[in-house]
Amino acid sequence: MTEVVLAIVLGVLFATGTFLILRRDLVRVVWGVTIISQAANVYLITMGEIRGQVPIIGHGVEDPGTVTDPLVQALVLTAIVIGFATTAFALVLTYRVYEEHGTLDLDDVEARP
């Protein structure tokens, strides 16, 4: 059940992200990229097969049963940190584009040589 919900959430996130990337406003484009990279993180989590069991195995337990894969969560942590840095840089670059071109409209930014 959780996975069906997550699949729907993923679809909505990717759709929203793609929609925003196709906007002309630079800030919205950055939002779009951020949402898409967060969607990729949610997708990574679902790849670990969420089964509702924490991956903590007691001392001396021979058969831990079915647990959620902890590796993907480590991967997602790394991806989140990287995403944080790239988003920060994207926003700084957006500000610089605004300073130099006086506009955030992509059509006007590209029109100037």
Binding site: S37, M47, L75, T78, F89, L93, V97, H101, E110
Partner: protein
């Protein structure tokens, strides 16, 4: 102890990056540290290459975690070849930067970013873990985002924004691919993945989804390499970036995409046994052949036409590198479709990649030298450079000949091998594409020559002030083309060793995971 050398190139680059940040208050010292660091990098790479050639694979397990549970770094001849290429291009390019980048920029962060980029590239070549490959890609890209806007005028920030957004979307797609492969195969270690896909039944892996997921990763790598239809970020980014950065982007970073395609498809996915039907052959590689052939043809065409139409020297070179990347991946496409010529095909791609790295970086640096000397690289403001700057003109013509493929330069052997692969495979269309591409290359380079170097000198050209340091750094790369072309035998055998290592996953797997790991599986006696 013996395998510690594998991690050395990354460590040297990272250490140098930190040291250049610490010494930024003393410009001279910082430059010395930076140059010393890149020289140390070249020495370490040479030492590593001496160990891995002609056919040794070394594995280093980070933190001593046993593979496949930790992250493995693997140096095989393919990694060795790519690292050597990186070192040869980086040293002259950094020497050029010390002169051409303004003092404030150097003090601020240029050197650190340059070395972080080198570290990212080296990590991507050395890692044996798919997620770790993503991380190194990000390290490399993060440095390159900043370097592209370094001298930022208005146009540069606009182009850099496109470059940034495209690569961020690429990174997200790469995460999807990596996550998907992990979900299907249950591992991120490339060697482990290769053996699980090779013995899919014993490992209880369903290989069918891998074909589609691998296609996602292929699209990302094609984006990094700038293969059509993912080529449109290339010309604006190269024109926006400072000259030495363009040289690194065209010479080294593009090759990371090509390397990743070779590594993923030929080392990891090729052992997969799954009939695709519809005339596509076997496994994920079956799709790669036809797809890459079409993309190579498109790159060669689009790039060459753009180059013929280029207004400035840099624009011409940027479009030319789209066209040349087509030549690099063309033999890979043929090798994917025809397994019999795969080794030769990968060797051809590597030789061509080496030639392109040397020639294109050299030509970018020369274009920068001309810009410094005359103040312009627009063709309608140039003319008669051959008479006023004979050394620059000679170096340019050698670089151009290398791209065209005139003996005895490395470019001749690159083209020869590409043609040889297509003929041996009996791939008529590929041969046709290569021939048309070769003619177009002659067309755009001779146009550059006649417009920029011959004819009446323009006012800009009449009193050129050629900077000797800049010229020496650029000429060093051009000289390498001649030297490696004349002494081509070792280069060719190194490329063949690298190709063997790339297409024979068994040795790779056994080194990373331990002896006989290739045939082990759950339920087997040894497991």
């Amino acid at each position: 102890m013996t395998t510690d050398l594998v991690v050395a190139p990354i460590l040297v680059a990272l250490t140098t990056a930190v040291l250049t940040l610490l010494s930024r208050r003393w410009t001279r010292l910082q430059q010395a540290v930076s140059l010393l660091g890149i020289t140390a990098y070249a020495v370490v790479v040479a030492a590593l290459a001496a160990r891995v050639f002609p056919g040794t694979t070394l594995a280093y397990q980070l933190g001593d975690w046993v593979a496949p549970f930790g992250i493995s770094l693997v140096a095989d001849p393919l990694s060795g070849f790519m690292l050597a290429l990186t070192a040869v291009v980086s040293v002259p390019t950094l020497a050029y930067s010390v002169r051409s980048v303004d003092d404030r920029g150097q003090r601020l962060s240029y050197h650190a970013l340059f070395h972080f980029m080198v570290a990212g590239v080296s990590g991507a070549f050395l890692t044996g873990d798919l997620f770790n490959l993503f991380v190194w890609f990000e390290v490399m890209l993060m440095a390159s985002y900043v370097l592209v806007v370094y001298h930022g005028d208005e146009a540069a920030t606009g182009s850099a924004f496109t470059y940034l957004v495209l690569n961020l979307v690429g990174s997200a797609v790469m995460l999807l691919g990596v996550g998907g492969l992990y979900a299907v195969t249950g591992t991120l270690n490339m060697a482990d993945m290769a053996r699980r896909l090779a013995h899919a039944q014993q490992w209880n892996v369903d290989p069918a989804p891998v074909v589609g997921i691998a296609a996602l990763l292929f699209a990302v790598f094609a984006l990094k390499a700038g293969i059509a239809p993912f080529q449109f970020w290339v010309p604006p980014a190269y024109e926006a970036a400072p000259t030495p950065v363009s040289a690194m982007l065209a010479g080294v970073m593009k090759k990371v995409g090509v390397y990743a395609i070779i590594r993923l498809y030929f080392t990891v996915l090729a052992p997969m046994d799954l009939a695709l039907g519809y005339g596509f052959g076997t496994g994920a590689v079956g799709i790669l052949g036809p797809a890459l052939l079409v993309m190579a043809a498109a790159s060669i065409g689009v790039g060459a036409l753009g180059a013929i139409d280029g207004d400035t020297l840099e624009e011409l070179l940027a479009y030319s590198s789209v066209s040349q990347i087509g030549f690099i991946v063309l033999p890979i496409a043929v090798g994917a479709a025809v397994p019999d010529v795969r080794v030769l095909a990968v060797a051809a791609a590597l030789v061509y990649a080496l030639n392109h790295a040397l020639a294109k970086s050299g030509l970018f640096l020369l274009a920068g030298t001309i810009r410094e000397a005359t103040g312009t690289t627009r063709f309608h403001e140039l003319g008669g450079l051959a008479g006023h700057t004979p050394v620059v003109a000679t170096a340019f013509v050698v670089g151009a000949f290398a791209l065209i493929g005139i003996p005895p330069l490395t470019g001749f052997f690159g083209k020869l091998l590409v043609f040889d692969v297509t003929v041996q495979a009996g791939a008529g269309p590929a041969l046709g594409i290569a021939l048309v591409g070769a003619v177009l290359t002659i067309a755009y380079l001779s146009r550059a020559w006649t417009r920029g170097f011959w004819g009446q000198p323009t006012p800009a050209v009449s009193h050129p002030r050629v900077d000797t340091t800049l010229l020496t750094a650029s000429a060093a790369l051009i000289a390498a083309i001649i030297v490696l072309g004349i002494a081509f035998d070792p280069v060719y055998s190194a490329a063949l060793d690298a190709a063997h290592a790339a297409v024979e996953p068994r040795a790779y797997v056994d080194v990373v995971l331990g002896p006989d790991a290739w045939t082990e599986h759950p339920g087997s006696d040894t497991a």
